[in-house]
Amino acid sequence: MNAFRAVYWKEVRENLRDRRTLVNALITGPLLGPVLFIMLMNVMVNRELARADQPIRVPVIGAELAPNFVNALKAAGIDANPGINDPERAVHDMRADVVIRIDPDYVKAWNKGQSVQVEVIYDSSRRDANTTVARVRSVVESFARREGAMRLIARGLSPSTAWPVNVADRDQATSQSRSALMFSFLPYFFVLTVFMGGMYLAIDLTAGERERQSLEPLFVNPVARWKILAGKLAAICTFSVISLLLSVAAFSTAPWFIPTEKLGIVLDLGFRFGAQVVLLMLPLIVLLAALQSFVSALAKSYREAQTYLSILMIIPILPSALLSVIPVKPEPWMYSVPLLGQNLGIVQLLRGDGITGQELGLCLAGGFAAAAVAVWATAVLYRSERLAISA
């Protein structure tokens, strides 16, 4: 049996016997993401749907002055609650999402045909109240529009005189691209899965082996160190690939658990999507395995390696975070940047746009080039005299 296969099989077999590595690679890593995702989406969707469909109750100050207005609210599913004192405080203290205050001069002004003021008191920084606020606002505005039109007609004028310009919305978002907006953090989950799947192995095979003082006897064997490293990297990659496959499979069941049809979105996470994601992620698997081994080789102990790697884990978040703060139009060069390329590619797949051969090529070429550099750097580190000396 050649040295590469000997190292590979020994590492795989040894780590299959380690509960912590197994739990991380086969359960926590691949399943945490999908489960969290499905739960969060369900909570979010149900809350939004509840607000959109169900009648809501809003405190209206001065409701008795404007029965016509209150009726219009009621017709739109907004019931007027008795008014409250100090509405600003109530909104600030989250006792009310939104409060309507009708001007005391409402009756007088209305009868004269003048414009009257209806205050909508809310806090735009409270995101959970935004749907309610938007709903109240649109009801108030459409009431105003309708009444205005009635007044014009009563004076023998066409309502269009008051609105020379009409906005007609032509939203080009497809139901699939809308869903991509909601799931833009999915690429990060995949990267994290690969990271977690290989992490404990990478620590164990380098820092762990050094700490347990088995690296020195290992290096005494008549095998070039790069061959030992290659076997170890292959074992790490195997575990992270299995993690990724499990994760992709788990995500593909997500549409069954999320009421996508109620949201008017399409979520296609099927076989084609999964296969393309795995292809896109291949260079990252090698890159992360090498980076993790490199960092672990610098550490003196298992714990130290663990600390370094949890810092390293932040790096894959950067492209996702950056893209969500600064939305950029993808330029071709971006595909060749590892992590960023994968991020763009997976979001594109989610949007249902597909990915072109050129983009895929750039993604793989850039990723594998970076992986080659990382593997080379780790191999150089492996050659050093210090690496084997444990104590």
Partner: protein, 244 residues
């Protein structure tokens, strides 16, 4: 056969090995005797190619590790200072792994492994995972895996360190057996009695240099002492006097 010619190695300002030369012959047990920190482990590490000497030359069966480190490692069976075993593998699996790394066939590994398990009297622990092994059981496993490829030259770094009396005696028997098989056995120790009981030749190292290299009898004669322990103290003491 292992030949060492004027080896030097420093770590920063510390000269760990400062001109060590000796020869360890086939069919003999050569003891590397010296106090802690004398440079024994560093010398051995250069022999088994883990470290590169700053100057000097090593020849193992005529091969220079600077030219072909992999070939040298194939000629050597090494019990390093670090005895780490794979604790999630059984003793047998630990031995088999090293046999594979030596490029042996599975059939050859099996024959050799079983022979070593018997020779080291470790049949009872062979199929147990090494986690929780006693010091003696760990050393036995480490030696078995180091010798699985039937090397001509055997390097043992403090092989009886941490062993109880029974295990130490078993280890000595085993080393005599290696000698009887015609191998070149080189081991380091800081324990006089052990060296006296085992060695055909003693190389005394202190402060990174060889201060004596002879048979036990010749050492006694030269120093005029009755016991090897006194001879050892005298040799080291003289050296310290010279250095100061």
């Amino acid at each position: 056969m292992i030949e060492v010619k004027d080896l030097h190695k420093s770590f920063g300002d510390v000269k760990a090995v400062d001109g060590v030369s000796f020869t360890a012959r086939d069919g003999e047990i050569t003891g590397l005797l010296g106090p802690n920190g004398a440079g024994k482990t560093t010398t051995l590490r250069m022999l088994y190619t883990l470290m590169k000497p700053d100057a000097g030359q090593v020849l193992v069966d005529g091969i220079d590790p600077m030219q072909d480190p992999v070939a040298v490692r194939r000629q050597l069976g090494v019990l390093p200072d670090a005895r780490g075993l794979y604790k999630r593998l059984t003793a047998s699996e630990n031995i088999t792994y090293f046999g594979r790394l030596q490029g042996m066939t599975d059939a050859a590994i099996r024959v050799r492994r079983e022979a070593l398990i018997d020779a080291l009297e470790m049949r009872d622990i062979a199929t147990r995972r090494t986690e929780g092994f006693s010091q003696g059981q760990r050393v036995k496993t480490a030696i078995a895996r180091a010798l699985v490829h039937d090397p001509r030259n055997v390097l043992l770094d403090e092989p009886t360190n941490g062993l109880d009396v029974m295990a130490t005696r078993a280890m000595r028997r085993f080393m005599h057996q290696l000698k009887a098989e015609g191998r070149c056995v080189l081991f380091s120790s800081h324990i006089m009695q052990e060296v006296a009981a085992l060695c055909d030749r003693i190389v005394v190292i202190a402060h990174g240099t060889v201060v004596a290299d002879d048979t036990p009898a010749a050492l006694l004669e030269k120093t005029g002492q009755a016991s090897l322990e006194d001879a050892f103290v005298k040799i080291i003491g003289t050296d310290e006097g010279l250095a100061a």
